[in-house]
């Protein structure tokens, strides 16, 4: 069964840190998330990526992966699934300027995923407020799934 998710990002806006309050290096609050096959396939359909490694159990079993996996970019879901409603990444108007991610082991349906995350840096450039977020996702075996960082422009 999928966990409930608050889709109104305005709702807790006042409880989130603004740029001035973000402390680089301070861990963000995170929550474990059970990745379902349904969530993987909903994401794959939304981005028109229907590779059989994500949909066809029989096919996937015969590959080196030994079963269904999630696409590498599954961290797109995990970023929001593993953080609470007052996380500053949800602040309306947050603009994503770019991201970089490294992939170790694929996420799989049923994985219980945890996140270690923080702001790594913040700065002002061309009158814009930037914050860099730094993230590592782990599976229930303590293996790194992926690690990455993103450059965000914070609302004024």
């Amino acid at each position: 069964m999928e966990q409930e998710f608050e889709t109104d990002f305005w709702k807790h806006a006042q409880s989130r840190k603004i740029w001035d309050e973000i402390i680089p290096g301070e861990p963000r609050k995170t929550i474990p998330y059970t990745l379902t096959l349904e969530a993987i396939q909903r994401y794959c359909r939304a981005v028109c990526d229907l590779h059989p490694l994500y949909f066809d159990e029989e096919y996937a079993r015969r590959t080196p992966y030994g079963g269904l996996i999630a696409p590498p970019s599954i961290h797109v879901i995990l970023m929001f699934a593993c953080t609470p409603v007052d996380d500053w990444m949800r602040t309306p108007g947050t603009i994503n300027a770019g991201q970089s991610w490294s992939y170790n082991t694929p996420a799989r349906p049923g994985d219980i995923i945890t996140l270690q995350a923080r702001a790594l840096d913040k700065f002002i450039k061309k009158e814009r407020l930037f914050a860099i977020h730094d993230n590592v996702f782990f599976n229930q075996h303590g293996q790194v799934i992926c690690s990455g960082r993103g450059w965000t422009i914070r609302p004024m």
């Binding site: 939304a46 981005v47 590959t63 696409p71 970019s73 797109v76 879901i77 949800r90 300027a97 991610w101």
Partner: protein, 148 residues
């Protein structure tokens, strides 16, 4: 035995299928990614200014570009037992409903390390006008001893 990595040349190109961007595709990405930022949902909110920038309406998630590039890389790599290991991207222009985007990749270098083999791929996403909306670089591993 000569494998895929051995015959791979600098300058070789790959590309993704087209992706047609619409209100519906952006809404579907919100639901699938759990990213309900009003940038992607509320047209009235997007009529306002963001510092010096005015988008004039909702924009597609930057990570939808990222997903399209990922698809291009994995479709290419899975077929030859390669492993997509890294993707770095930067968004240059907003993508809006009505746009049609496609990802492109060019192999810029091959590298052997102590334990593995790697291809570096320059990536970009272009819209229907030929404008580059995203750029970046990817790394695909071709493990030694794995037939490709």
């Amino acid at each position: 035995m000569v494998g895929f990595f051995d015959t791979l040349n600098q300058g070789e190109r790959i590309e993704s299928p087209e992706f047609a961007v619409s209100w519906e595709s952006i809404r579907a990405f919100c639901e699938a990614s759990l990213d309900y930022n009003p940038l992607h949902l509320q047209d009235d909110y997007m009529q306002g200014n963001f510092g010096k920038t005015n988008f004039g309406g909702i924009i597609m998630h930057g990570m939808n570009n990222f997903a399209l590039i990922t698809r291009m890389l994995t479709d290419w790599a899975y077929a030859v037992n390669g492993v997509h290991r890294r993707l770095e991207t930067r968004w240059l222009q907003p993508v809006k409903p009505g746009d049609i985007i496609r990802a492109y990749g060019t192999v810029t270098a091959k590298q052997m390390t102590a334990k593995s083999r790697w291809a570096i791929i320059e990536v970009e996403v272009r819209n229907q006008h030929g404008e580059t909306v995203a750029t970046g670089e990817a790394l695909v591993e071709f493990p030694r001893g794995v037939p490709s």
